[in-house]
Assembly symmetry: D2
Homo-oligomer: 334 residues x 4
């Protein structure tokens, strides 16, 4: 944002001062008011019709790849913060229909079903009401004026129903930094230099700019699929360093998503208690929409094969009124 104060050295962190490191970045990269006082979209505003038109023009094959993990009881959740895996149950079944217990005429039978799930249990967008900074929500509102027990009254995910459709860019950090395995180790903090060298190495189709939705593959999901979930949901993970906040701001991307549960590196980069400082900077202050638990492995294979890392990305949330997040099935169209 024009005029935002520069940090002395945005790539350095005082590992004993999370409060200060967060505050300085929050102030430097704060977008409050940038899109008016009524805004409910944040950086998704960077996507305009022209951007989407450009994105659609990237489709050259008609190939679609789903970037969603399965939604079922075999997911990674273990109950932390009441986050369970989706519970899917049937209201009617084919077994009943076949046996003739349903009471419909002329041989009709039916099956219906129900789901109960935390909105953040699997592949999802974090909405702008998901994180607060010192009691403040996106655009400078008080958290209690935004998200009550009735949900997000101001920035609910329904406002973004038609927004997250743009040019997607995959940055395969796992492959770039660990060519052998394609997997970053847990606790690895991806830096701005890493992001930039990855984009450079992948070539021109990886250039990142205004309105893009950036997908960062760490390879952790591939590891979890092979070795078992372990603490995949809530535990240690590779992810973005707090120091990338400036890059996230400067590039004017619309959204970012990773194949990890929390998008930023865990444990966080402090020697004192800290928890998700990059969330605290980018969601309530910058207004950045963040995706987590995406499955980027098939897409990464397709991109590498083609030497092409850009595509049309459609990742529309379910417009659940007042939700602070949404399960999604993002689709890359190459």
């Amino acid at each position: 944002m024009a005029g935002a104060p520069a940090l002395a050295d945005p790539d350095l962190l005082d590992r004993n001062d999370p409060d200060g490191e967060i505050r300085r970045r929050a102030e430097a990269y704060r977008n409050w008011g940038r899109w008016g006082s009524e805004d409910a979209l944040g950086t998704l505003n960077f996507i305009d019709d022209g951007k989407r038109l450009q994105a659609a023009s990237l489709v050259s094959e008609g190939l679609t790849i789903s970037l969603s993990q399965p939604f079922d009881m075999n997911g990674p959740q273990k109950g932390w913060r009441r986050r369970t895996n989706p519970v899917h149950t049937m209201l009617d079944t084919g077994t009943d229909a076949e046996r003739g217990t349903q009471g419909f005429p002329h041989g009709l039978g039916g099956a219906d079903d129900v789901i109960a799930m935390p909105l953040q249990c699997s592949t999802q967008w974090d909405g702008l009401g998901h994180i607060f900074d010192h009691g403040m929500a996106w655009n400078g509102r008080r958290a209690g004026d935004v998200v009550t027990s009735d949900g997000d009254l101001v920035t609910g995910i329904e406002h973004a129903a038609a927004s997250p459709v743009s040019r997607g860019v995959l940055l395969d950090l796992g492959r770039h930094l660990q060519p052998d395995t394609g997997e970053l180790p847990d606790g690895y903090a991806i830096t701005t230099a890493d992001l930039e060298s990855c984009a450079a190495a992948q070539g021109a189709t990886s250039a990142v700019g205004r309105g893009d939705i950036v997908l960062v593959r760490t390879g952790q999901l591939a590891r979890a699929r092979r070795d078992g979930w372990g603490d995949y949901a809530g535990g240690a993970a590779p992810g973005l360093s707090l120091t990338t906040a400036g890059w996230l701001h400067r590039t004017e991307i619309a959204a970012i998503a990773t194949d990890t549960w929390g998008f930023e590196v865990r444990p966080n980069e402090f020697d004192v208690p800290a928890f998700q400082p990059l969330h605290q900077v980018v969601i309530p202050n910058m207004g950045l929409t963040v995706g987590e638990l995406w499955d980027l492995d098939a897409l990464a294979d397709a991109c590498r094969t083609r030497g092409r890392y850009e595509f049309l990305l459609v990742a529309a949330p379910l417009p659940i009124t007042g939700a602070v997040g949404s399960p999604i099935n993002p689709v890359a169209i190459l």
Copy 2:
């Protein structure tokens, strides 16, 4: 399908013989085996990469329109067949965050949420396991071999995760047949002639063919929005006549969706007890994916303004393992 027996007169119905009328159409338009014995997609197979490439080329403005109704307690459901509206509750709130009850360090606060909902409660796809014909499911399998209490073990909606991306065509029957109001009356049975005259009247961009996803606007949702839900979910409605089964088969469309709860006309076109006979023909026999409760009003306005009724449609279901349907947020990209 080549070799399918022709009905003597597919546009006529014996209003006292639902069994016979259903059986004749089931046999005439059955696609079992057409895509192999293992198939889980049915007519979605008509969408191939070439089709999607063509669909992407239709994007000329970059305008996106969500075709989803809101997911919340103000929806149309009244509990029929245990179909409730979505119940969205918070696990953490901004009120708590602002008050400082959450126990996070450095001023971090968070909000999380949960949803419980029938998968058919609002804008949705019916999967291939949703309806059975005399105990048989899509592709000639026994219903009890396909959908048990564990869900759809064979044709679950997850198989279609990357499929419903194609050329969308809006047929605004409400506007075509009722230019003044734009709304068909409840109980109006849309015929093949209606569909064809609408397509002709709307012009060349409304031609329907292989792999298209056809959206039929009846105007009933506009009426319900104005007058109150009443029996919008489960009651009388305009919709497709059973006699359109041949057109649905002949055109080789990939999927169809309407702005009503049940896609076909209600009450059904018989003088004896009958229930959703067109479902019984097209889902288990033809393998057609059916969308219901879509909001086509904004799209209809946009299409009419432009005199252009085709667009890129992305309507990827949540890949809920074993689901016989999925809530969706379909996005039209013009």
Copy 3:
């Protein structure tokens, strides 16, 4: 409570001053501190072992009567404040077992099920954290220190797991005041004089005193069963007048329950906007546990037949950690 200020005339109400009428009663009948600063039971403390021993001695026949309404989708809820009826779904069925799809050895089959429901949807106890008075909860705590998104951290219903076992007394106001129909009209405000004359008319077994659980039958449920739910859950109803607060306090009863959704009369007794003023007095201030949606009809028949209105009542809540209420199946043992 000793020393509580007496109201000038507790039987009168200024119908334009709900604030004042509530405040005066809240102050007069406040029990904060009466059972120590750590208390989580309120008036349930009036039940001691001696009381329960006396209650058990009332059993003279061994007859049990359930006072619970059915828990199912046919209940009275219509979605007001996201209160749905219970949604009960199956995880496994007999149909599957019979067909042999479950994979168990030696002919074993099983059925399991799941429920999702508001804790206040049917026969229930309101816990002490259910209602607040000007931001204050039972025993003088700040509401936000007691009930957050994590539930009731202080007075959760689990604390009462073994408490509500006592002498029950049925006051059949419906029969007493309307001998012909047994049903009070909606909007009828039951006064202290009504309660006392009913107890007197029913005879010695209806004397109300310390530690009793009083069941007030209005007859509204019988009417709803006959005529349909209508607005039974959330609408107009007979019930206790705000002016009975003194009687509820003076008698030192442990709990009270009715066959209506809200225990007090609706509409409330004011000419200006008001909502559940008696709740506001008795739950956070008096610490009274309140039961709603009980089915007292079979019990009333049994009591009238015997001319005996006292019994052992066992109404233990499910110990749901942090709940502000609990579904219950109260059992009267005569």
Copy 4:
């Protein structure tokens, strides 16, 4: 049951023939028709008013002890067969009330909540529709005629709403067989001789007979509480041997409950694949109501202190229409 064929030696098992061992006991102890063809209660029929009158007379102190585990996310479930722990969420909170976001008049505030849980997730009764034997349910009905996706249409737990109130007898097998620790090891199969010697050792108040509800404490819950849940829900456990089926039948008890997840010993007593054979004998054939996951530790302490093992037990299920089980809060009244 009069005329039931005796097993040659009911205390012996052929560890390679689960089918035969189950079949012989199913035939020997089958109670089908004993209480008429319409019966929905099974052995709960052994409780009559006289039995309950006797049970009430056992109350000598007025002491109540809840036998329920807490219902919350910290429970033992891990998702096996979609059994999660209870998910309790708030619809309204004290934080909101205190902040004034709720919109009620005159300072009223409220909190409401919701629960989603499997009915077998914590302290519960298994209903008669919970288990089938070769596709047959209790009283000789076909399983698919009893339990469909609509629930248990015949023997739903609601039929037992007023039944499980009787004399309770605690048999503290853990303490009897392992006086030092009070805990039986996982895999220990409790025999008829064990049950009888425990009853004898505990003294006259432990005599077991018609209509009693027998509570068998193994001590496994105490171990899980100390050492962590591990596989407490679904894993190895001490429990009743299949060979106790005759004792369960002969004593004519009304119900039995344990402090383990599955009441019978796990692993089961066979060298070939087997799963819950005692369930298969006693639920669909004998009509026995079975309780699991009860907390018997505080009760055991109280009984041992008093040298008295009988009490009034009230364990009424929630009358969830069509449920094959119910969460309960059983209360022992001494």
